[in-house]
């Protein structure tokens, strides 16, 4: 046997050790991926199942209850600062932001009239996101865009697995108190198509190609990207406070 140009006699026990180490590594990775991977998978499934029974709707209703909502905007029109959120319904980090942090932002900033939120849906993950965006903007026509976005996040499946189907949209619509038929009809409307195009154009003009991305606009100021260190409330709100100064 020759290694690095030097003839080497490899003791048999070395080859056995090598084989054992590699086999152990393969087993370790398989166990880790299966155990940890299936752990997150079942957690996601549990969340989806639990919320499909109506829990998500309750949460969404309590988050947005009593807050004015018009088209894609959540909050008082007079709010001096606008936080625009670029999201993709298939994006797991958008789900994390929406489920974990949005309620805090709404409670601490939107409800008090300091900030209004504007939703901008963009396709980043794949074509299936378009179905979700159509449903979300269809709900906007009945001023329930934010509830629909949250209801879809509650049902989020694997990326590009085709989980955003019409039955899923109908279920989400029903859960947030909209007529499923009305939503699915509106999904094909010119207004919805136009809203999606407008959102994509705005994202393109800001050079946004990932989600979630946040942009903030102060009175008379330009729309500028908000840099955040993380999506948890503890990481997100300091950046918001800084931007509000």
């Amino acid at each position: 046997m020759s290694l690095l140009g030097h003839p080497v006699v490899v003791p048999r026990n070395r080859l056995l050790v090598l084989g054992a180490a590699i086999a152990a590594a393969v087993v370790a990775v398989v166990v880790i991926v299966v155990v940890v991977g299936s752990g997150s998978g079942s957690s996601s499934t549990t969340t989806t199942t639990a919320h499909s029974g109506g829990g998500g709707a309750t949460e969404a209703r309590s988050t947005f209850a009593g807050i004015p909502q018009h088209d894609d905007t959540l909050g008082k029109a007079s709010a001096p600062v606008t936080l625009t959120v670029f999201e993709d319904p298939q994006c797991p980090f958008c789900r994390q932001w929406n489920i974990d942090t949005l309620p805090t932002v709404v409670q601490n900033y939107v409800r008090s009239g300091r900030i209004k939120l504007v939703y901008r849906g963009v396709v980043v993950i794949g074509d299936n996101s378009l179905v979700g965006l159509a449903a979300i903007y269809a709900a906007a026509e009945q001023n329930k865009l934010w509830q629909m976005a949250e209801a879809l996040y509650e049902r989020q499946g694997d990326e590009n697995s085709g989980w955003i189907t019409i039955p899923v949209v109908r279920s989400a619509a029903k859960e947030i108190g909209l007529s499923p038929a009305q939503v699915t009809t509106a999904m094909r409307s010119a207004a919805v198509t136009s809203a999606i195009r407008k959102s994509a154009a705005e994202a393109q003009s800001l050079g946004i190609n990932g989600t979630p991305t946040f942009a903030i606009q102060k009175p008379l100021g330009p729309l500028q990207q908000l840099q955040v260190s993380g999506l948890d409330p503890g990481d997100f709100t300091p950046a918001l406070d800084q931007a509000l100064r």
């Binding site: 050790v17 590594a25 990775v29 880790i32 940890v36 997150s40 980090f93 980043v124 990326e159």
Partner: protein, 133 residues
């Protein structure tokens, strides 16, 4: 132990890649990318394992491999082969995820794949040629 320098050099490359991707993950910024799919990969569910960024796991692995490069003996060589082999197998899993479910390629991940393969090969050579044991 004549392989100490090449192993350390390869580990430093791996540490640089993993550290950059770990920073991108926690800073929530977009990685510099020429393949167009880095952000998609970085934001996919495969970018984390049990809530821990895989980039951070890679960083820990490379630091371990770097440390083992400076420890003499068969035990260190065997631990190095095991750690590097875990890295290679896991990188293969992530490459499968990029080509399949994610449907996007990340240049940093490919760079890591090559680096961990080199580190693993060097550790195999070290194990087979280590003095003593």
């Amino acid at each position: 132990m004549r392989l100490r320098t090449p192993i350390a050099a390869a580990c430093m490359v791996g540490i640089a890649i993993a550290a950059y991707l770990t920073y991108v993950h926690y800073a929530h910024t977009s990685p510099v990318c020429t393949t167009g799919g880095c952000e998609k990969v970085q934001k996919s569910k495969y970018a984390e394992l049990g809530g821990v960024p895989v980039a951070l796991l890679g960083l820990i692995a490379y630091v371990t491999l770097l440390a083992l490069a400076f420890v003499r003996g068969m035990n260190a060589a065997t631990a190095g082969v095991f750690t590097a082999a875990v890295g290679v197998v896991f990188s293969g899993y992530l490459l499968w995820a990029q080509l399949g479910p994610i449907n996007a390629i990340c240049q940093w991940c490919l760079g890591n794949d090559v680096t961990i393969a080199v580190v693993a090969a060097l550790y195999v050579v070290r194990l087979l040629t280590e003095e003593g044991g």
